[in-house]
């Protein structure tokens, strides 16, 4: 087969298929892991009936949601109601295009990169695409003709835009240290620096992680779907496949937030202290571990934290949520940008 066709057509197509399958598989089993871990945290067993130890539970859930009756409330804005879940789902998937899962490797004389594209504005791309998801949530809440949905959608939008600002500042502190917006470039900068950016940027990392949880509307910031007051928030009226899309998007967004934390602050596919312990990582006992494993291990840790927080923390009140975002995280993240800027200036300049 001629080289260009292979390089430009076949390999990207294979990567797209692998990426989609892996992402959807992880999302499906993340829901299983969540129920299982929450179960054990509350001294229950969690799902354990479908398949051995409940392993087939996600399949059963998917099938159930597929054949469920699909209700559209009377008086709803029907077209918007149907499009809204898709507007939430598509950006959640598209963001994975620029996540670098590992370092390039050689197969049959060709260099394969375990990411779809390495663009020099990857972080801006992710920030931009992720903002589109807010529209879906707002439109879904508004079009349902249901007061709970409307309030849930409004709260969700207010929460997401509030926490996007400190999150942006926290990301800027990582960009300051790396000097590039490319995801691969940020990981390489951490290799050059010899340490993960979490050590010099611990404050930025903390702010990013808190905002990441708030952006995905998870505990303790799950105000939009606070079931005690708003039933299910913006997706109260959704059922069947449309509900499944909202659900999948939430977990895909959790993966994105975790993956971004890994890339920006925890060295992406690099092992801990890539330079200091270089001898250790090159030893035959450990050298076989591919970067993808490191990446997925770190990402799983963050995903576990998500579930752990849900099992541990009580929910904020809405005014507290806004106060934390605007009065604490915003000035803190601004100060963090100044501090990191000063540090980079003193160390490099």
């Amino acid at each position: 087969m001629p080289e260009p066709i292979l390089q430009l057509l076949l390999i990207p197509l294979v990567k797209i298929v692998v990426l989609l399958v892996v992402v959807l598989l992880i999302v499906a089993y993340l829901t299983y892991a969540e129920r299982k871990i929450l179960g054990y945290m509350q001294v229950r067993l969690g799902p354990n009936r479908v398949g051995p130890k409940g392993w087939l539970q996600p399949v059963a859930d998917g099938l159930k949601l597929l054949v469920k009756e699909d209700l559209v409330p009377g008086g709803a804005e029907k077209l918007v109601f149907i499009i809204a879940p898709a507007i939430v789902m598509v950006p959640a998937l598209v963001m994975f295009a620029v996540i670098p899962f590992g370092e390039p490797f050689e197969v049959a004389g060709m260099t394969i990169t375990p990411y779809l594209a390495d663009i020099n504005i990857a972080l801006l791309f992710i920030l931009g695409v992720s903002s589109v998801g807010v529209f879906g949530i707002m439109l879904g809440g508004w079009s349902s003709n249901n007061k709970f949905s409307l309030m849930g959608g409004l709260r969700s939008a207010a929460q997401m835009v509030s926490y996007e600002i400190p999150m942006g500042f926290a990301i800027i502190s990582a960009v300051l240290m790396a000097g590039t917006l490319s995801m691969v470039g940020i990981v390489e900068a951490q290799r050059t620096a010899g340490w993960w950016f979490v050590f010099p940027g611990i404050l930025g990392f903390g702010i990013y992680w808190i905002c990441g949880i708030a952006e995905t509307n998870r505990n303790p910031f799950d105000l939009p779907e606070a079931e005690a007051e708003l039933v299910a928030g913006f997706h109260t009226e959704y059922s069947g496949m449309k509900f499944a899309l909202f659900y999948l998007a939430e977990y895909a967004n959790m993966m994105i937030v975790s993956a971004m934390a890994v890339v920006m602050f925890l060295g992406g596919w690099l092992p801990p202290f890539p330079n200091l312990l270089a001898g250790l990582w090159a030893s035959p006992a450990l050298a076989w571990i591919p970067g993808v494993i490191w990446f997925l291990a770190k990402m799983s840790f963050f995903l576990f934290c998500y579930i752990w927080f849900r099992g541990t923390f009580p929910r904020y009140r809405f005014d507290q949520l806004m106060a934390v975002g605007w009065k604490w995280l915003l000035p803190l993240s601004l100060a963090n940008v100044m501090l990191v800027g000063l540090g980079v200036l003193l160390l490099k300049g």
Partner: protein, 118 residues
């Protein structure tokens, strides 16, 4: 530019995913429509107003305006952060001046009660 072609193709695949999923569901799902089922959920109480008419707090609007102000600022910071190595001290001082001006606006908004929720 060739980096963006795979992203475009991937985006098209991603867009087709919910469409295919919804169409598939349309073919296989159960359906027995009933006017009672189509009522908006309100704890079993019969709804007598349209949700679109519901009044909600003006604070949401204020939050959105504040967001626009600060988000534009974030966009200014990104190019500065990328070229920080080249701008060095001059760029740092200039950005600190910019942030200080913004901080004044932030304190003003706080003092005027724009950040209070209640």
């Amino acid at each position: 530019m060739e980096h963006y072609v795979p992203i475009l193709v991937y985006a098209l695949v991603a867009i087709s995913f919910p469409i295919i999923a919804l169409l598939m569901a349309k073919v296989v799902r159960a359906g027995s429509p009933d006017p009672v089922k189509a009522e908006p959920y309100e704890c079993g109480v019969k709804t007598n107003t349209v949700a679109f008419d519901t009044r909600f707090s003006i604070r949401y609007y204020l939050i959105a305006v504040l967001f626009v102000i600060f988000d534009v600022e974030t966009i200014f910071l990104f190019p500065w952060a990328v070229s920080f190595d080249r701008l060095a001290l001059f760029g740092f001082i200039e950005m600190m001046v910019f942030l200080a001006i913004l901080l004044v606006g932030y304190v003003y908004a706080w003092r005027r009660g724009a950040l209070e929720w209640a």
